[in-house]
């Protein structure tokens, strides 16, 4: 950003200025290279310890959690909309769906605590991997830092996927593939097994920011970007346990697949009606995730009031 500003101010009006621009640009490029050059993980900030989520941002969304009919904030495409239209939440009660955890793009949006520790090569003390235990659903992640490739396209997928990391200055970039299908929202916005996630971790003292950029060619019209903050806990061992057993709690036919036929979901607009929000705004996907969409919502509300 500073480089752009400098070029604007010192627009070439003399040979001396042009030379100054070249020098400043070279310095900027060198600084950028220095800042973003990938350096050995051992020389980086430590991200180890026990971390807990801070929920000052998107509290209602992340702690009580989304409910039936809440489709906001995710750049869904037409396929995702049709999936959500016919989604019946009773499906999670089917025996073979019980205990299914949130997948990687979803799990950090809920309440969670996690522990990070390092695995180091004994001879060199280089970091081979960051290990992460997430209390929610007792999930484990490994972020490989040793440059290994991602697995074959034929390899199985897991809820947490396969992750590799690389430091760029003080920012840890994590790339994850091989993620299981799940949901962006439990209201029925699906994520596919083609989803890939980039995470960027930045630590500021005892706070750590995580930015996720989620791409999904099946159900997203553009990358889904969200961010979370975590705080280092003074007292450890705060992680939860999740002792889930799948059992048939209510007699029902085996292998049923609850779903609504198109146009028959009675709960589709429940959330919109509860909060007096235009359903189109809730269901429009990418456009509604940008600030400039707000006046359109106002127009919709006014239009509805006038009818």
């Amino acid at each position: 950003m500073r480089g752009h500003a400098g070029l604007t101010v010192h627009r070439a009006d003399s040979g001396l200025k042009r030379q100054e621009i070249r020098v400043r640009s070279s310095i900027s490029a060198a600084l950028c290279a220095l800042v973003f050059w990938a350096v050995p993980a051992g020389a980086q900030l430590s991200i180890t310890g026990e971390w807990a989520g801070r929920y000052h941002e998107d509290f209602d969304d992340r702690v009580p959690g989304d409910v039936n009919g809440d489709f906001t904030g995710v750049p869904i495409n037409d396929a995702a909309r049709f999936y959500a239209e016919t989604w019946d939440v009773r499906r999670v009660n089917v025996l073979e769906h019980q205990c299914q955890p949130y997948n990687l793009p979803h799990i950090y949006r809920g309440p969670l605590q996690f522990r990070i520790w390092e695995e180091k090569r004994p001879q060199t003390q280089e970091i081979i991997a960051y290990k992460i235990y997430i209390g929610t659903y007792m999930q484990s992640r490994t972020i490989w830092m040793d440059g290994r490739p991602h697995p074959s396209e034929y390899a199985p997928h897991t809820s947490m996927g396969f992750s590799t990391g690389e430091w760029f200055g003080d920012t840890l970039k994590v790339t994850t593939t091989h993620i299981k299908k799940e949901f962006y929202r439990r209201s029925g916005l699906p994520s596919s097994d083609q989803t890939q996630v980039e995470e960027y971790y930045v630590r500021h003292g005892n706070l750590m920011s995580q930015t996720m950029i989620i791409t999904d060619p099946v159900y997203l019209s553009e990358p889904y970007v969200n961010s979370q903050e975590f705080e280092l806990m003074e007292r450890g061992n705060q992680n939860w346990l999740y002792n889930c057993e799948y059992v048939m709690e209510v007699p029902q036919p085996r292998h049923q697949v609850p779903h609504y036929l198109p146009g028959e979901n009675p709960f589709l607009e429940e959330w919109a009606n509860t909060f007096g929000t235009p359903f189109d705004a809730i269901f429009s996907g990418a456009p509604s995730t940008y600030p400039e969409y707000a006046p359109q919502i106002e127009d919709m509300v006014n239009e509805a009031d006038n009818e």
């Binding site: 049709f82 299914q100 199985p156 299981k180 699906p190 596919s192 799948y246 292998h255 697949v257």
Partner: protein, 301 residues
Amino acid sequence: MNKTIRGLVLALGLGFAPHAAAQVETLHVQGNVYMLAGAGGNIAVQIGEDGVLVVDSGNREASDAVLAAIRRLSDGPIRWIINTHAHEDHTGGNETISQAGLTLNGNPAAIIAHEEVPTRMVAADRPITEWPLNTFFEDRRDFYFNGEAIFLYHHPRAHTDGDIVVYFRGSDVLVSGDLFMTTTYPVIDAAYDGGVRGFIDGMNNMIDIAVPAWLQEGGTYVVPGHGRIGDEADIVEYRDMVVIIRDRVAALIDLGMTLPQIREARISRDYDPRYGSTTEPWTTDMFITAVYNDLTREGAE
């Protein structure tokens, strides 16, 4: 057999055909079982002290590469080949793999399949050296090899009429044949008497067999007919998709809609970006048509 349908069946095999020099990739599934990918339909190889057992044999053109991949896993005798169904992308390598093998009494490796498989191969003028001659007609067969029990479950009127699912009990690996794929909508081959209801029954049987290790993940692994290794949760998602689309087609049939009208309604558009295709060998329209035809055929419930 109807020439158009036969062309489709051949295309299904050839559609997945690799180049002459096939790149066969080997993945360890778990226990004694490996998956070979890139030779047409996926191949499972079980190795151990008794020798080698192969489930499906891939395309004919890739059979040398498949044999080389098997030999990299084991130099033991290839005793058994199991065919999950008759299509050429799963059985084209039968001759090469069988001739390279040896049964205890000195014959080429025995090829096991449901009895509908050789029937289809004879009708398709396939060479006798590719036929499975060790067949069964019951709904289940089992035997013991390389220290574990192996179960073969027949599922009629599914992908074809001769589909079997193979379960390695000790290794805890299912081999689904084309009753589960991660690459496309289910291929329901009506010319081989396939049907959507049998297909769903087959998937439900696999769900009954499979047990996840932890929170619907891992445990029993599944070698699909095409695509990546899966587990129970992956079959469940695929089953859900097929059931949902079948129910939508059935509902529109009940409303009196014709097949062109049902196709026009695009009732699978929530799954099309993942499994759909507008190009052959297997398009979304062909899948919807197969579901429709199975639900409206005489005697359908």
